[in-house]
């Protein structure tokens, strides 16, 4: 598989490149962008991030653990006050809420580390420092006979540079 890189100047050009390439049947695309853009995300149509599930799991784990800890502790060392129940559920809401936020946040960030950093697609080695500055990169993975077509499409949407990158 060869990789063709197109360097573009604006997010609008990048979205146009993605749409043209997908329309021409190219499916294995990678982009590099100095800014986040919902238009780019929508054009790539990769679906929702699994991080939202991790946030939910973190929140539920946090709040469950907090209530369990507080109720268990109340019965482990009972404070007998006027015949009241040992566990005071309403008062425990505060720490339940804080632990809900804490573990929800921790799971979210761990999810980012896992999915965004360690599970990112390997093999697209076309990154160049200007992609964190003022240019956008669009990499197409394709067979050798499709390279001219990919190059032509990338030039058509206004790429300032188009080159074949070795995989």
């Amino acid at each position: 598989m060869a990789q063709v890189l197109g360097v573009l100047k604006t997010p609008h050009d990048l979205v146009a490149a993605i749409e043209q390439l997908k329309g021409a049947g190219f499916r294995d695309l990678e982009i590099y962008s100095p800014v986040p853009s919902h238009h780019i995300e929508e054009a790539l149509d990769r679906g929702p991030s699994p991080i939202r599930l991790l946030t939910l799991i973190g929140c539920l784990t946090g709040v469950s653990f907090a209530y369990f800890m507080q109720i268990w502790v109340a019965y482990d060392w009972p404070l007998v006050i006027g015949g009241k129940p040992f566990a005071s559920i309403v008062a425990y809401t505060i720490i339940g809420f804080e632990m809900n936020i804490l573990l929800g946040g921790l799971f979210t960030v761990l999810g980012l580390m896992f999915f965004g950093m360690f599970m990112t697609r390997k093999g697209h080695d076309a990154y160049q420092p200007s992609f964190s500055g003022d240019t956008f990169g669009c990499v197409v993975a394709c067979h050798g006979d499709q390279v001219p077509r990919a190059q032509e499409l990338l030039r058509r949407v206004g790429s300032t540079e188009v080159r074949v990158v070795e995989s």
């Binding site: 604006t10 997010p11 609008h12 695309l29 990678e30 982009i31 590099y32 962008s33 100095p34 800014v35 986040p36 853009s37 919902h38 238009h39 780019i40 995300e41 990769r46 929702p48 991030s49 991080i51 939202r52 946030t55 800890m69 507080q70 502790v73 109340a74 482990d76 060392w77 005071s88 008062a91 425990y92 505060i94 720490i95 809420f97 804080e98 632990m99 936020i101 804490l102 929800g104 946040g105 921790l106 979210t108 960030v109 999810g111 980012l112 580390m113 999915f115 965004g116 950093m117 599970m119 990112t120 697609r121 697209h124 990154y127 420092p129 200007s130 992609f131 964190s132 500055g133 003022d134």
Partner: protein
């Protein structure tokens, strides 16, 4: 109406250059400034060691005032820590785009302020090495902390806020650390390479990053409102006249945002001037922060008035005496400094000319910082010194040790902030660029990003 005359960046690369230029090697003046702030920290460290050796007798704390400057300063710094989350999370969810220029500085400030705040309860307990008694851990005596105590709630709230703020700050920083890695050529390149975690701005990375920022914003919004509410319950759940009131939570939260925004202005105005960032920290940003100050100042002013009204309307002699004491007792100066700085000094901000005058905003922000420290001092000191029984009334004067540690906390905050300026972009690079591309796309008729 004041004319907006700051230069507008012309290219995305210029934005990179302007903002990353701040990371260039420091000037001798900068080094001297850091050394000065670090000296203040050194003085505070000496005072702390002195107190640890001799005990809390070296402070002015004595019956009945057992909370003093340390708890005042703790509440003050927790309040300062609210601005970052407000600007980054709440304004993010409201899609207030002006936040992009100020959010990074505010987030950094939040992290440093909450770290300092977390130290003060430890300093206050005197025997700092007994801190772990608050933490629920299995021990041979089978003892646990009382989870119904607001002090234990506070431990969880402050630590949750600290960890969440650090995560929020760091996640926002990752793309900019990637940009810094691609620009610098000295030893810091290795630091940025490690901290940016291999950031390349790929579609997968942005997809997960955007979702993470959204979720952290959603989690931080109720958190920021809860943290100062929990701090206020340290006071409101006790039976002290002047403390035992239901308005404390919203009153404290508004005060926290008020003081936090003021501190953002206090630190960003010199940064704007020193690093020529007038094109990024623009007058409209100060205008908007001025409006937030006006809003929160009004809430705080209303709360002051309402406290006095309720003291009168309750017909409770203890409550009435406590508030009379606040305004006209031994420490009347503290109360009137509080009212002058927090209610009167922001009043000129009703005029746009004042809000867009950076020097005016800076001076006002310093008055607010002073006023908000005194607000907490007044609540704590006058409340405790004048409770129910006249035989138990007392007086409190902070000692030199306490005041040295107070000044050192400002030194530590400024040391951390000035060091941060040279280590990471003080303005969120990718967010400013995102807005810049959006404006350009709108101008070209392509429609903005949402």
């Amino acid at each position: 109406m004041a004319a907006i005359t700051e230069p507008v960046p012309q290219t995305a690369d210029q934005i990179n250059d302007d903002i990353l230029r701040v990371l260039e090697p420091p000037t001798p003046m900068y080094v001297l400034m850091v050394l000065f702030f670090a000296t203040l920290v050194g003085c505070g460290l000496v005072a702390f060691l002195y107190q640890t050796y001799w005990g809390l007798g070296v402070t002015g704390l004595t019956h009945p005032v057992m909370w003093g400057v340390y708890i005042t300063t703790f509440v003050f710094w927790v309040g300062i820590a609210h601005a970052g989350t407000l600007i980054s999370a709440i304004l993010f969810l409201f899609r207030a785009k002006w936040r992009n220029a100020v959010n990074r500085g505010a987030e950094a400030m939040t992290v440093f302020a909450v770290l300092i705040a977390a130290m003060f309860p430890l300093i206050h307990i005197g025997r700092v090495y007994k801190f772990y008694f608050m933490v629920p851990y299995p021990n041979q005596r089978g003892l646990w902390p009382n989870f119904k105590s607001p002090l234990v709630w506070d431990l969880f709230a402050i630590n949750t806020y600290m960890i969440t703020s650090i995560m929020f700050f760091y996640v926002g920083l990752i793309p900019d650390l990637g940009a810094a890695r691609d620009r610098v050529r000295d030893w810091r390149r290795y630091l940025y390479r490690a901290l940016s975690l291999g950031w390349r701005g790929s579609s997968e990375q942005w997809r997960h990053w955007s979702r993470t920022v959204l979720h952290l914003s959603g989690l931080s919004t109720p958190l920021v409102l809860s943290v100062h509410s929990v701090v206020s319950w340290d006071f409101a759940t006790s039976m002290v006249p002047g403390w035992h009131t239901t308005i404390f939570a919203p009153y404290f939260v508004a005060g926290a945002i008020f003081s936090g925004i003021a501190m953002v202005i206090t630190v960003l105005v010199p940064v704007r001037k020193a690093f020529h960032l007038e094109g990024y920290l623009r007058k409209e940003h100060f205008d908007n922060m001025g409006k937030l100050i006006l809003l929160t100042s009004s809430v705080v002013g209303y709360s002051y008035g309402m406290e006095y009204f309720m003291a009168w309307y309750s017909a409770n002699p203890y409550e009435q005496m406590s508030f009379w004491w606040r305004g006209f007792g031994y420490h009347w100066t503290s109360t009137w400094i509080m009212i002058s700085c927090n209610v009167i000094s922001p009043l000129p901000l009703w005029f746009k000319w004042c809000r867009t005058n950076v020097a005016w905003m800076w001076v006002t922000s310093i008055f607010i910082n002073i006023g908000m420290w005194f607000e907490r001092y007044v609540i704590i000191m006058t409340g405790l010194s004048h409770e129910y029984d006249p035989a138990a009334w007392g007086y409190y004067v902070p000692s030199v040790t306490e005041l040295t540690i107070l000044v050192a906390s400002f030194g530590l905050f400024l040391t951390m902030f000035t060091v941060f300026l040279r280590l990471a972009p003080v303005i969120a690079l990718q967010e400013v660029k995102e807005l810049w591309y959006e404006d350009r796309a709108s101008a070209a008729g392509h429609g903005g990003h949402h």
